[in-house]
């Protein structure tokens, strides 16, 4: 049986639907020792800004039941160093490189997108408008529909690359935010970023994270993420990239059935550095067992009653 695993994210064709979630895969090179990056549909790198960011003070992570909270604070080496030091390495692999990026203002988003658009070896952009670890004012990019519309359309005008917008789950109605991003020019939507959470140390009586709150990820959030992918799929026409607690092939398939065109593996990379490959192999085994010749036939199948 021949199997077609390729999927389209806007104008971008991926050889298979397995991607990495930004912030969980470094700049790719950290994992090259453990797997062949060329087997991945796409590598989404750690979020970048025009200038390097120092990030939050430690402790930055804390484990929770079937998950973890992180408050890294978008520490990154800045776009220029990424281009100089990381892109040459990534270019040696036969995979799509998607750069996650963010700014502290609309102007910064635009400038970052422009800078990244002229670099050979970058195939797509993912806009982070939904990091839970930024100061209060920042989250309006991902939670206030008017601001979301402004920032996405400004970036849309600044880049010819496929533009993915990563949505926050920390909103009342994620399908509304999805529609806003789609109308503003997004080619695809990443659903979901982490959920804001807190853990308190009962001995010190203080939050365990120095940042107090952090983003919850891991298997604990998967049902929420699947539900949100399901809702967003109904609301928009652009492809949805599903993510949130994917640990095993079955989890990835659930997201596809909910309506995702592709999936991103995040926290699982920390537990098993080969998780992406294990998930890809498992998806292929499922397709063989279920006699599914084209992966696109799985998309949204859970919507048919």
């Amino acid at each position: 049986m021949t199997m077609d695993l390729s999927v389209r994210i806007g104008s971008l064709e991926l050889k298979n639907p397995v991607m990495t979630a930004s912030g969980t895969f470094g700049y790719g090179e950290e994992y090259a020792e453990f797997l062949d990056l060329s087997r991945l549909g796409a590598v989404v790198v750690k979020g970048l800004s025009l200038l390097p960011k120092e990030g939050n003070p430690p402790p930055r992570i804390v484990e929770t039941a079937s998950g973890m909270l992180n408050a890294i604070g978008l520490q990154n080496i800045g776009i220029q160093r990424f281009i100089d030091e990381k892109i040459p390495f990534l270019r040696t692999y036969d995979t799509k490189v998607i750069v996650n990026f963010f700014g502290d203002s609309i102007d910064e988003y635009v400038a970052a997108a422009e800078r990244l658009s002229s670099v050979e070896g970058i195939h797509g952009l993912e806009m982070n408008i939904s990091c839970p670890n930024k100061q209060a004012g920042w989250c309006i990019f991902g939670t206030d529909p008017r601001v979301t519309a402004q920032v996405v359309s400004a970036v849309r005008k600044a880049t010819p690359l496929p533009l993915i917008v990563k949505l926050s789950p920390n909103v009342t109605d994620i399908s509304l935010m999805a529609k806003v991003a789609e109308e503003a020019g997004a080619d695809a939507l990443s659903v979901i970023n982490t959920l804001t959470g807190m853990v308190i140390d009962i001995k010190t009586r203080k939050p365990k994270l120095a940042n107090r709150t952090g983003g919850l990820s891991g298997p604990a959030i998967k049902p929420v993420a699947v539900r949100m992918v399901y809702e967003v799929f109904k609301a928009v026409k652009v492809p949805v990239i599903g993510m949130g607690g994917i640990m095993h092939p079955d989890d990835a398939i659930e997201f596809l059935l909910a309506g995702a065109t592709a999936v991103a593996v995040g926290t699982a990379n920390f537990v098993n550095p080969r998780a992406t490959i294990d998930i890809l192999d498992g998806i292929m085994a499922y397709m063989k067992d279920e006699k599914v010749e084209d992966i696109n036939l799985l998309r949204g199948a859970a919507h048919a009653i």
Partner: protein
């Protein structure tokens, strides 16, 4: 792939009320671990706890890789009950190691409590050259003391309650040791692992006596391979990863 493998548990036995010694049968393809390096060890097949646990290399023997761990949470509670013969996933060896001292240098090794797990193999490798400052709460908490005697030149013990060696901290005995009038002053290098307050004091002593010092830092860790940026400590270069640029740092690099 050789730093990510399945290891068989050869032995997992208590050496103290709350400490176990784990011996893992590791594949030949694993790179040789060096003193100061660590492993990420799977403690659970399920998702709670989710992450692997970071443990220092205690020793590498003909039996395999040994890890000395303290039972103090969900993960190690599960690990302590794992039986001989079971297989667990392991990543490693990871991180930086203690740089060995030159031939004319006297190594001073500081171990605070479970910090012994990280420096033991260094003492072993320096066969008979190291002066070890070993501190614990009580005599009963001096893990692997007898085994250590076979490898150290001398061991200066301090306990909080005075039940063995000097009453007080090892920082005090290190300070007293270095303050003795000596002529000419020998060339020393300090290596330390233990609680952060101890490492801070040791770093200050090292600076005061103008001695190079390497210290092993600890921070919550998710991936162990430099991807998550969770385990940072503040250094002169900003926030730096314990798992990649550490765990062994030059003491003067750390901003306390």
């Amino acid at each position: 792939m050789s730093r990510y493998f399945k290891a068989e548990i050869r032995e997992n036995r208590p050496v103290h009320t709350v400490h176990n010694l784990l011996t893992l049968n590791v594949p030949l393809s694993m790179p040789e671990p060096r003193p100061g390096q660590f492993f990420m060890v799977e403690v659970n097949k399920g998702t709670d706890p989710l992450l692997k646990r970071a443990f220092s290399l205690f020793r590498k023997t003909a039996q395999g890789v040994q890890i000395l761990y303290r039972i103090r949470g969900k993960g190690t509670e599960i690990l302590k009950d794992m039986k001989e013969g079971s297989e667990i996933e392991v990543l490693g060896p990871l991180g930086t190691c203690y740089p060995l001292p030159s031939g004319d240098t006297i190594p001073l090794i500081i171990a605070g409590g479970i910090g012994i797990a990280s420096v033991f193999s260094l003492v072993e490798q320096l066969s008979g050259r190291a002066t070890v400052f070993y501190g614990a709460r009580t005599k009963n908490d001096l893990l692997m003391h007898k085994e250590l005697k076979g490898f150290a030149k001398e061991i200066l013990v301090s306990t909080d309650d005075g039940s063995a060696g000097q009453k007080g901290t090892i920082a005090d005995s290190l300070s007293a040791f270095l303050s003795r009038p000596q002529s000419p002053t020998p060339k020393y290098r300090i290596y330390a692992c233990g609680p952060h307050p101890l490492l801070k004091i040791v770093s200050e002593i090292a600076r005061e006596f103008k001695i190079s010092a390497n210290i092993s830092m600890e921070e919550h860790m998710a991936c162990g391979i430099g991807a998550c940026l969770g385990c940072v400590v503040r250094t002169r270069d900003g926030y730096t990863r314990v798992c990649k640029e550490g765990p062994v740092f030059e003491a003067r690099e750390i901003v306390w």
